[in-house]
Symmetry: C2
Subunit: 406 residues, 2 copies
């Protein structure tokens, strides 16, 4: 597998575009993804009880239909908490896109992201679709435009593409995603779209994508708030013409690994671009009794405001890490717990078997001044491990969020 230039338009038969249609003042706010042939689809969505209208739309379609051909996405307005009119607006977005692209209504998925509780400016959006759908193209630049158009407070576009060989055929996977606040996904991140030309059975597409989600998007946190709009979708149109992957063989493992690589990359990019974030912190818990324990413990640490502010302050405050482990809802023996930080070959042990160690504050400072820091927590409860990713909590997070709506 190798990384290649571009994003969602790299796999064969996928086109995209991104344009400014006036939902936002100046920046791009409409993206369209299109597959030339029907693509199998799998998706995971927010577990928030309050689901935005487009999430409900997508879930409905995925229940009934297993192939789609397009996704239409607006940024600037989340179409969440907008009641019946919100549902109508989502259907209108799908209808308009279907008409323009000559598709069936139920072959179009819809996403929205932005402010909650304000009805969509639906005429601007339908006019925007009408005026821009012909711009779709399969160049890298077309993918770039789409990745830009789904951004809200993101400071950079997040995309990736990889190429691998399956059964002698070149298979490509592309992806794009957006963050960057209200990020604490529970089955799916804010918005993430993966395209692939791999030929794979519906069952295994679901399996690979959903399992990868548990250890990618579901393991990141910017601020502990699970959004109403979290959506992660993969489309597989089979145009790579590899022999269909129908069992969990070597080809499947290769595909799954590549999909996970793409998901993980995008998830980490979301954290790096977290609101006000200056550092990417990874927290690995190993030696846990179960995988779920390891996930809960690592996520509890990375979600703690006190841990996050300590990283912002470049303070080796391992006590707060221990405290966050303690309230994660998992039983473990502190007397068999060790904690270290490392970065670029520097490593310091802060605690070994429950006993605080004297450590070199100079080396600690050196590590903490870096922008990517790894926290390792070693238990002696079992053999499972998990990693969670998050960012520091800074003045800028407060600034960005104190005055978002107005």
């Amino acid at each position: 597998m190798k990384k290649i230039k571009g994003g969602i338009t790299c796999p064969k038969g996928f086109k995209a575009t991104g344009n400014h249609i006036g939902v936002k003042k100046k920046r791009k706010d409409l993206a369209i993804i299109y597959s030339e042939v029907p693509a199998k689809v799998s998706g995971v969505f927010t577990k928030n009880v309050v689901k935005a209208a487009p999430v409900i739309w997508c879930q409905g379609i995925l229940k009934r239909k297993k192939t789609i051909q397009a996704v239409v996405i607006n940024s600037g307005n989340a179409n969440a908490c907008t009641g019946e009119v919100g549902k109508k607006h989502t259907a209108i977005m799908a209808e308009k896109t279907a008409k323009c692209l000559n598709l069936d209504l139920y072959e179009v998925l819809v996403s929205s992201t932005g402010i909650i509780g304000v009805p969509l400016p639906i005429e601007k959006i339908t006019n925007g679709i009408e005026e821009n759908y012909k711009n779709i193209g399969n160049k890298v630049e077309d993918g770039n435009l789409a990745a830009e158009a789904i951004m809200t407070t993101d400071t950079f576009a997040k995309q990736i593409a990889v190429e691998l060989t399956i059964g002698g055929k070149a298979v490509k996977i592309g992806g794009m995603a957006k963050g960057s606040g209200m990020i604490h996904p529970n089955m799916g991140t804010m918005l993430s779209y993966i395209t692939t030309d791999a030929n794979i059975s519906q069952e295994l597409l679901d399996k690979a994508f959903k399992e990868s989600n548990l250890d990618s998007y579901n393991m990141i946190s910017v601020d502990g708030d699970t959004s109403t709009n979290d959506t992660a979708i993969i489309m597989a149109n089979g145009l790579a013409c590899n022999e269909e992957i129908i069992e969990e063989n070597e080809d499947y493992e290769k595909f799954k690994k590549a999909v996970h690589y793409v998901n993980l990359y995008l998830a980490q990019q979301i954290v790096k671009d977290g609101e006000g974030a200056g550092k990417l912190i990874s927290v690995t818990v190993s030696g846990a009794k179960t995988k779920e324990d390891a996930r809960k413990l690592s996520k509890s640490v990375i979600t703690s405001n006190l841990v996050k502010t300590a990283f912002f302050g470049e303070d080796a405050n391992w006590g707060r890490i221990v405290c966050a482990l303690g309230y994660a809802g998992v039983d473990f023996d502190l007397n068999k717990t060790s904690i270290s930080f490392n970065c670029l070959g520097n490593e310091i042990y802060l605690m070994q078997n429950g006993i605080p160690l004297e450590f070199d504050e100079e080396i600690a400072k050196k590590i903490l001044m870096e922008v990517e820091i790894a926290v390792n927590i070693i238990l002696e409860e079992g053999k499972e491990q998990a990693t969670a990713w998050g960012c520091d909590l800074s003045y800028d997070y407060v600034k960005i969020n104190a005055d978002y709506r107005t």
Copy 2:
């Protein structure tokens, strides 16, 4: 029931003192509470798996003994994550206090608060107890000194006293507490001590105190971090000489109500003095299916970083409130949910039956500029209600916590 001047030294037979003994650089750091006669005791402690040594000590005593006579408390060092030496230090603190006050070792409770993971400067503490235990007194000022001595990043001392009549006798209840970071109690707050001269059975003392905890300390959040040292203790020495309360009659209800008043007052003071806090936000959820649902929903809203930063920014961002309700882990129908803000007679409805309302931004701004704001969330699921209290998330919270340890 009326509020009276003072705190823990108001009830008959309770003495206290607070002094500087050198754990902290300048400020007071040792408090002793003493009852002239054995006092029945009840307590609730952190549910954090990682418990500080003094918490383990107190839990051990409360299991075996139902009367105590003293509590010794140091601030500046939490004696948490200090392994076997931490346990020894706690026992030494109890031993020294018992010797000075001529008590049995197991009649002394111990608390510590401050930095995690550093062994106590135990000699300073034993010398401090030796040199200062004779200062204990029953004046209001003596209670003030104790309330000051338990502070860490608190900006003011938190205490209260009330007087009520039970069976023709004047009964007093006094209390003191400290916050102000790592505040998201799970059965008990950082540190809270209640004294009373009421004569009441052990069983009903437990019942009144533990039930009150669920709706006072357990319903506040400063930063979502449950500490390793949370402790709330009530001591009842019976010196008011009322006929012992042994059943859930009118006297019991009066006593319970007064205890809850004291706990709630202290809990709210902790939130008001939350690190970096500028506003006290109360979130009431009514019309919930169960009391537990109402608690979960209100606490989810007040714990959300996005909700808290919106209040800091004085932004009527009800969408974030809806989002936090949605991920609370409780099922409810958004289409029957209404939300309003009110303060000092001003009220605005932001949402009614799931539909966002146009509201007067001027009135919203007026309410949001106040320092105490009530958020009312009305469901149509049932008849239960609960209130949670929290504060805004400000630049100062980040500042205080980015550099706490060094």
